[in-house]
Amino acid sequence: MISADVSRAEGFTPPGPGDFDLQPLFGGTYAFAKPGLQLILAAVLVFGFFALTSRRAVMVPGRAQFAGEQAYGFVRNSLARDIIGSHDFMKFVPYLVSLFFFVLINNLFGLIPFFQFPTFSKAGFAYGLAALTWVLYNGVGIWKHGLIKYLKLQSIPGGVSGPILLLIVPLEFISNLIVRPITLALRLFANMFAGHLLLILFTLGGEYLLLESEQLLYKPVGVIALLLAIAISFLELLIQFLQAYVFTLLTAMYVQGALAEEH
């Protein structure tokens, strides 16, 4: 009896990719929806936070300045300096700090009430951000080595010589210049997309089982689903932080790889 009910699934429509197509707030052809607004808001928040905490910087920092310096120092030391090395890293710290907190806030929008939509679960935004990283590390490499030498460094792995290079060069070229930005964007997008979908499924499913299902047996299952939704929210919090960290970490690694003499 119960299994037949489950297979009919009553009137529940499971969430899908369609849930990510939000109604535009305004505009016709170039519609402007919530993710776009969040993107702008995140940029304003990051700029505002660091401007406010560093504007009247004093020798003995107050609470706000301390928070700002801690946030800045985290990315500066654990990402920029440790990866790129003490010689070149300062040039890239402003970009890496902004990038990390920009991605972090956009991801956190996935859990903050009234936003509740991770901006980068729209693939286009993630591709745009990865394109910035791509332009940065290739630009840095070309600026440091010149175009020809940079392409050589990127497509000839160290310790290989002879005719086998003919097979290796196209592989290295594609993996370093084409696959990299795509996986960078896909990783961020897919994590945000899947996490948000999971949250929708557990909250909507739990609500349906608890309130709308006519089977009395389903109601406790609905409660379990809603409790799990809370647990998944905490997991999402971790993933949102982790993905911002990984995106910035890989950007720093690519910059370091472009600067390195020996590949």
Binding site: P157, P170, L171, E172, S175, V179, Y254, G257
Partner: protein, 67 residues
């Protein structure tokens, strides 16, 4: 901040292996497909996939040995 932090000789990108495998399989499968449709055979795509995966593994191995 007088402490010196020397960069590693090459950044250890944990996703390099993935990139190389995907790139290797993609390139040599494409070359195999072109060969197949040119000559009229049907075995060059799998051969290309295997060669691409092998080369991707090999370059990953080389990259790690360089550390």
């Amino acid at each position: 901040m007088t402490q010196q932090h020397a960069p590693p000789s090459r950044a250890v990108d944990p996703w390099a292996a993935f990139g190389r495998l995907v790139a290797g399989v993609a390139i040599y499968a494409t070359i195999g497909w072109v060969g197949d449709s040119w000559i009229g055979t049907s075995f060059l795509v799998p051969v290309g996939i295997v060669i691409g995966a092998a080369l991707g593994l090999w370059t990953t191995f080389l990259g790690l040995r360089q550390q």
